[in-house]
């Protein structure tokens, strides 16, 4: 595909560009091309997860879910998107105009930017940087700004309450999340996402989820909390503070928040798959033909499974009370992760087979 792009460039643009600029032009177009290649499926996935969510939760609750627009309701997300695009974006009079508009962007941008370092298989990655894991950690910690700024700029009590709740919650769970990632770091000895997957080489039992089981569970639960999904969705809390931080948003501005939430969900699902479940590696031993082959397919299967868990949680669990969220984060998760870091370090030190030999 890259060759195709090159020949396309050679045919159209390159004669106009001076010799010395050729390399940089190629590079720019290649990168933009790759970004498009990652983001287009991602945004499509975001749209269809909303559909999947309504369907799955519907079936869990013995309903059918959306089934009117298009065959079996398949065009529902498109219809939703069109509706939101054509709605007016209302900016409340007392709101801080600039920040009010920036906030949704601040919440979507980090969750898209984080995809730069996600490896889809052993060579398909946009930016193969050394500190990939750190980069992810830094970017996921930024998504809270969208929420706080939105809550503050709306100049509304409900929105502000939602923002404050979210800020406290995200700071609390980020620590547990960070510690869980440190465990992965100890186990793999690298911050590079590709090398982390390579360190899990093998099948189901070779992946890190087994030696790092507590960290894996805590990571995923913290991920749910970090994305403000049920049962940790106190930042929205429809029954308490209307819709929390985005109560005053409408139209596209609202839908950007919506997209950010789902993009973050996919992000967390992808990270859990990569860090603890072997990324693109196959769950079957290599002896088995076809099924034992590693590939992008397996990564997608894993991501889908974790996304399903997100929806399953939402349909099953009642919302946490706020003080219980704080207690869970600070008093349970953080101590467990710290203890397990030491355990993991011991595992690595003694070279526990089959993971660390």
């Amino acid at each position: 595909m890259i060759e195709l792009l090159h020949s396309l460039l050679d045919a159209t643009l390159m004669p106009l560009v001076p010799e010395s600029m050729h390399r940089i032009t190629y590079l720019t177009f290649e990168t933009v091309f790759k970004i498009t290649l990652i983001l287009t499926p991602l945004l499509l996935a975001v749209a269809y997860i909303t559909f999947a969510e309504r369907k799955i939760i519907g079936y869990i609750q013995c309903r059918i879910g959306p089934n009117r627009v298009g065959p079996r309701g398949w065009l529902q997300p498109i219809a939703d998107a069109l509706k939101l695009i054509f709605k007016e974006i209302i900016i409340p009079t007392g709101a801080n105009r600039n920040l009010f508009i920036i906030a949704p962007v601040l919440s979507l941008a980090p969750s898209l930017a984080a995809w730069a370092v996600i490896p889809f298989n052993d060579h398909l990655v946009l930016a193969d940087i050394n500190a990939g894991l750190l980069y992810i950690l830094a970017l996921t910690s930024l998504s809270v700004y969208g929420i706080i700024i939105a809550g503050w700029a709306s100049n509304s009590k409900y929105a502000f309450l939602g923002a404050m709740r979210s800020a406290a919650q995200i700071v609390a769970y980020e620590i547990a999340m960070g510690f869980a990632l440190v465990g992965v770091l100890i186990a793999s000895g690298s911050l590079n996402m590709g090398e982390i997957v390579a360190a899990q080489e093998g099948w189901l039992v070779h992946w890190f989820w087994l030696p790092l089981l507590p960290l894996c569970v805590i990571y995923f639960i913290s991920g749910v909390a970090e994305t403000n999904r049920a049962p940790f969705d106190v930042a929205e809390g429809e029954s308490e503070i209307v819709a929390g931080f985005h109560v005053d948003y409408s139209g596209m501005a609202f839908s950007v928040f919506f997209m950010a939430e789902y993009a973050n969900m996919i992000m967390i699902a992808a990270l859990t798959s990569i860090l603890f479940f072997g990324g693109w590696l196959s769950p079957f031993p290599e002896m088995i033909p076809i099924l034992g082959e590693p590939g992008l397919f397996w990564l997608l299967v894993k991501i889908s499974f974790f996304l399903f868990l997100f929806l399953w949680f939402r349909a099953t669990f009642p919302r946490y009370r706020y003080d219980q969220i704080m207690r869970l984060g600070w008093k349970i998760f953080i101590p467990i992760t710290i203890v397990w870091l030491i355990v993991a370090a011991v595992f690595v030190l003694i070279g526990l087979p089959p993971w660390f030999d």
Binding site: N130, W152, I170
Partner: protein, 218 residues
Amino acid sequence: MESDRVIVVPRCLLRIINKKMFELIVFYIFAALLLTSAVMVITMRNPVHAALSLILAFFSSAAIWLLLEAEFLAIVLVLVYVGAVMVLFLFVIMMLDINLAKIREGFIRFLPVGFLVALVMVIVMGSIVGSGIIEPLLEERVYYGPGFSNTQHLGQTLYTDYLYPFEIAGAILLVAIIAAISLTMRARRDTKAQDPNRQVAVKRSDRVRLVSMKTEDR
């Protein structure tokens, strides 16, 4: 030649846009951004805007660190300061009802003193930088290229050469935690706090008492 005519950018400019030049341009952009946002931190009327400018300043300095191939420091700066410290900072600022007029009262009055201090600092820094100490260090600067892992080298140095100071820093952080907790935590009698442990451990017999009563006669 045909292609010569369509070049919009002058040739002389193109020749100097090599890798180093590109780096310089990026540096100046972020340096300018850093300075602007730093000035905005102290001049903004709204404290929330000031805090947001500070976040921008952190970002710009992280970018400058990236240019120096110190990706670990850059990302950690974003992670720690932008991702955690400033969130709490904003949290507090947004919650407080800050009287702007009162804060700004002293600004003009202390401006001359501030300028004087700044002037002295600038003179001293200028004289140190200008005294020819920096130049040899610049000559020594090595570009490591993409394979270089700043994180690994930093870790290696910290845990070998600077092990002792590093551990002391850990002790300082521990003391900070102890101090903060012992100064702020007190068992208040008037809060209606629930103890989840007891809530979870509750048994039926704690709440419901089955009383066998004789059926009353009609």
